[in-house]
């Protein structure tokens, strides 16, 4: 039976100083009772706005500009506050993305449960009920006495989930419920969620950018692009026969890193600017199958092969055929998307390993923190050794808090190890003891060792142009002056694939897409002509569809320029695609190391296997149902 009906819903943002922006356009879909529906899309596609519109939680300048939302017979868009209040939470609840802020910081967890019960006049013992609910999400009852800031991110999100289920709602809107959490924690929460849904039978609208998660969890998946739903079909259907080119592109960026051959694809280009009017299909500029008609006619969302798709080419059945079997899907899907870029893992190319340019030798780092009179020590890194070689990528893999970033800081001289040595042997002069550098010598050292940062939005100064960002290392390290700087900057931009460079030099960071920014960041790192490049999660903040693109760039640079790269990541798939060697770090200790294919393909260590299992894998949903208990016991409490 239909629980939620969304009909021709449009949401428009009308900010004061900027042109109006229709974030959600003419969206229609249903959710049946007990159904788990995924809403998939990249950042800015309007999926969260849609979620908020369903809950009628939009706040100005966003407003519903058309259509209606009918929940259980009630039109949410026109209901009075009182009608709505009766509906809220008892039937319709939600979990927000930012667990950090979704609980009132100044009252205890228990009070937030009590509030909820009181608002809906639920009689009975709050503590008992709340304890019961917390048990549902595997939390101890002492959490009730805690203030939100005393809980970890995972615990807060569990509390939020428990709260969402408090009144046994019919539909829960989950807006990126696990984004920002550690992979392992993420996995355990999702597992629990799946179990709960089976037990309690509520319907779910699951909003996420993470295709793997959505396909794995959902019964049915809706893909959103540019404020519109472009495809809507069952998860299985989506997996086996994606019909929209965009969906295909997204699916192409996934693969099981354990397979002998791994290939992923990406979608070049960037999402449309919704503040401008568009003709034709919004995806046309990025679509490999676009035809002339696509540029003129805006396609409708029409039934096609058991689902709905908004693509003229697909509707006219002129898409290349893809038939995927579960087993070989990951290995082959990329090839079905030939016009886009693709990246294949470096495989077993047996390099002649050159001399190490940088050696990390039995390095440990201990932090001492003082709390009042007590001091406590944490060993962030213990006895880690490795070497970096020209033309080779060494991946450092581990979950958050494993000490990866500490190692990056030690290698770049930002911090000094408590014991052990970091030696740089690549310079023209004698070996540099990085752990002893200071002042001017440290600056000189950084000529050779550069970084690519995790967040391209924070790695570029928002007020400085691309040209300025690139000029600094050129002035400081290459000693360039005058027009030479601009020429060299242009060369650098072109070397990272931003051509013609003239278009980019005078842009401000916010005028660039995430991928373009990351390319600028990379170009800046290349400016001093370094020998070592430290890439700290360079793709984790990027949209899925372009991750492979950046990986490809990094890979090319390493091999063409004979750079030694330390690639830091929690993502084994990207490590598999990029790295020659993998080091697995758990709580500051290297637990496993070796050639990429060996480590990932045949992991020996439990921790490595845990990391592997935590990767959402739409291609093998059946395989993992039994693993949940393992995960939980490994990470109690999240």
């Amino acid at each position: 039976m239909t629980l939620l009906q969304v009909e021709n819903l449009s949401v428009t943002y009308t900010p004061r100083d900027l042109p109006a922006n229709r974030a959600v356009h003419d969206v229609t879909f249903d959710i049946d009772e007990g159904e788990f529906v995924g809403l998939l899309g990249e950042s800015g596609c309007g999926k969260s706005t849609l979620g908020n519109a369903v809950l009628r939680l939009l706040s100005p300048p966003a407003r519903i500009s058309g259509g209606r939302v009918v929940f259980d017979g009630v039109d949410v868009t026109t209901a009075s506050e009182d009608e709505l209040r009766a509906l809220r939470w008892t039937d319709l609840s939600t979990v927000f993305q930012s667990s950090m802020n979704s609980l009132n910081p100044v009252i205890r967890v228990q009070a937030q449960f009590a509030d909820t019960f009181a608002a809906h006049r639920i009689p009975g013992d709050v503590t008992a009920r709340a304890t019961e609910l917390l048990e549902l999400v595997s939390l101890d009852r002492h959490v009730l006495r805690a203030y939100p800031h005393e809980l970890s991110g995972g615990m807060k999100q569990r509390v939020a989930l428990a709260l969402a289920l408090a009144l046994r709602p019919k539909l829960v809107v989950l807006d990126e419920p696990t984004t920002g959490l550690d992979v392992v924690v993420q996995r355990s929460i999702l597992t629990r969620l799946a179990e709960l849904r089976r037990e309690l039978g509520f319907a779910v609208l699951f909003i996420s950018h993470d295709l793997g998660t959505v396909l794995e969890m959902a019964d049915r998946v809706m893909v959103m692009y540019g404020g519109e739903i472009v495809e809507n079909r069952t998860a299985a259907g989506m997996l086996h026969e994606p019909r929209h080119p965009y969906t295909r592109g997204l699916l192409g960026s996934y693969a099981d890193p354990r397979l002998p051959d791994v290939q992923v694809t990406y979608i070049p280009g960037r999402p449309p600017d919704l503040s401008r009017p568009h003709r034709g299909c919004l995806f046309t500029p990025r679509c490999p199958h676009a035809e002339d008609a696509c540029r003129e006619v805006h396609p409708e969302l029409l039934p096609e092969r058991g689902g709905l798709v908004r693509c003229l080419v697909a509707q006219e059945d002129r898409l290349p055929v893809v038939r995927l079997g579960a087993a070989d899907a990951a290995a082959t899907i990329g090839s079905h998307f030939p016009a886009t870029g693709a990246l294949t893992d470096p495989g077993g190319t047996p390099d002649v390993v050159a001399e190490a340019v940088l050696s990390v030798d039995q390095v440990s780092k201990r932090y001492t923190t003082r709390r009042g009179l007590r001091t406590s020590t944490t060993d962030a890194v213990r006895d880690v050794s490795f070497t970096l070689h020209p033309g080779r990528v060494t991946a450092l893999v581990g979950q958050s808090g494993s000490g990866k970033s500490t190692i990056a800081r030690l290698v770049t001289g930002v911090e000094r190890p408590s014991s052990g040595e970091v030696r740089f042997e690549g310079g023209s002069g004698p070996t540099v003891r990085v752990d002893r550098l200071r002042g001017r010598a440290l600056v000189d050292y950084r000529r050779h060792v550069q970084m690519v940062f995790q967040d391209p939005f924070s790695a570029l100064n928002p007020t400085r142009t691309v040209a300025y960002a690139l000029s600094r290392p050129l002035v400081n390290f290459a000693g360039l002056r005058g027009t030479a700087i601009r020429e060299r900057s242009a060369q650098l931009l072109e070397s990272v694939g931003l051509a013609p460079a003239g278009q980019f030099l005078d842009k401000l960071p916010h005028q660039l897409s995430g991928g373009q920014r990351q390319r600028v960041v990379t170009a800046r790192a290349l400016a001093p002509d370094p020998q070592v490049l430290i890439a700290d999660e360079p793709i984790s903040m990027l949209d899925v569809s372009i991750r492979a693109e950046i990986l490809e760039l990094l890979g090319e640079l390493v091999r063409n320029r004979r750079l030694a790269m330390l690639y830091i990541t929690h993502d084994l798939l990207s490590a598999r695609l990029l790295a020659d060697e993998v080091l697995v770090l758990n709580q500051g200790v290297l637990v496993e190391r070796g050639p990429t294919r060996d480590v990932i393909g045949a992991a020996r260590d439990d921790y490595t296997r845990l990391l592997l299992d935590s990767i959402p894998n739409p291609f093998a949903p059946a395989k993992r149902s039994g693993d949940a208990s393992v995960v939980r016991s490994a990470q109690p409490g999240g």
């Binding site: 004061r16 100005p60 930002v414 950084r446 924070s458 928002p462 400085r464 960002a469 600094r472 916010h510």
Partner: protein, 309 residues
């Protein structure tokens, strides 16, 4: 001791975003980006227009003022007449001329003391926030000290001690007592900004600390600095008026505060010269209003939650 509501954005406000908007704007327009952004906001626009009027009056004061503000050749204690729109003082000076010239003083004090205290606050706040460690401890202590020491009594005390009570002394006193609030805000903002990757990136690009602060951090705090400046200027204008009213100002300077002081001593209430009493107070109030309106605008822009929709 009522201080006008501090219209300073809460720490952590989106100062970078606003700066980006301004930088972006500057590329499309011949006017400064900041101005365009502020102009778009209704409150700001009114504030800017008012302030512009005051600045104009101050700049053109010698042309507008019908008489020498100190010229005392007129009959004393006149009520408003055609020749003396606001009457004359007990010493036979033209009140209207004093009012016009007083705008200058208030603006100079606002500008100079605002700049000075912003500068002090900036240097101390930035140094504390960027260097951290014991330097931060010491400077934070100073900042907190500056925050808790009661300002007006301190101002009164300092002003009374100075050997020459010129306008610049008043400016110095106001600056010395008024920098702490801005310093605290700037410190917390720089602590946020210094963890940005682009700061690390600048260091990897070989830039030195001074350059990083000046070229990477400060531009991203512009709105904060502007708001801080406006707040400080506003406080300074009020402070000068208060001190002058108490007779602790520079009696040689024609300012709205000294006018009120003179009006109070010169029996304006007694002789029913309401214009002499009302005009400077109203002018002061309007000037402060213009600053406050501009500040509200900036605040609304940089603080997404306060944005008017």
């Amino acid at each position: 001791m009522s201080t006008p509501a501090p219209a300073v954005p809460a720490p952590g406000a989106d100062t970078e975003g606003l700066q980006v908007a301004a930088t972006e704007q500057a590329r499309h327009s011949r006017l400064p980006g900041w101005f365009v952004i502020l102009w778009r906001n209704g409150k700001c626009r009114i504030g800017l227009l008012m302030l512009g009027a005051f600045v104009l009056v101050a700049l053109l004061a010698p042309l507008i003022a019908p008489y020498d503000p100190r010229g005392d050749d007129f009959p004393t204690s006149l009520a408003p007449t055609g020749g003396h729109w606001l009457g004359t003082t007990a010493q036979g000076e033209d009140v209207f001329s004093q009012l016009i010239v007083g705008a200058r003083t208030s603006l100079i004090v606002g500008l100079a003391a605002g700049l000075l205290s912003t500068l002090i606050g900036l240097v101390i706040g930035l140094t504390a926030g960027y260097l951290q460690g014991w330097v931060d401890e010491v400077l934070s202590f100073l900042i907190n000290l500056g925050l808790v020491v009661p300002a007006l009594p301190l101002m009164v005390t300092l002003a009374a001690y100075a050997p020459v009570r010129g306008l610049w002394l008043i400016i110095a006193v106001i600056s010395v007592t008024g920098w702490a609030y801005g310093a605290r805000i700037k410190r917390s903002q720089i602590i946020t900004l210094r963890t940005r990757d682009y700061i690390t990136a600048a260091r990897f690009a070989g830039d030195g600390t001074a350059r990083i602060i000046a070229r990477e951090i400060v531009p991203n705090m512009t709105s904060l600095i502007v708001v801080g400046f406006m707040g400080a200027a506003l406080g300074a204008i009020g402070g000068e008026a208060g001190l002058a009213f108490l007779g602790l100002g520079d009696p040689q300077t024609v300012s709205w505060g000294t006018m009120l002081n003179q009006a109070s001593l010169g029996g304006a209430l007694l002789t029913g010269q309401w214009a002499w009493l009302i005009a400077p107070g109203l002018a002061l109030s309007l000037l402060i209003t213009s600053f406050t309106l501009i500040n509200f605008g900036i605040d609304a822009l940089s603080n997404p939650h306060l944005r008017e929709d």
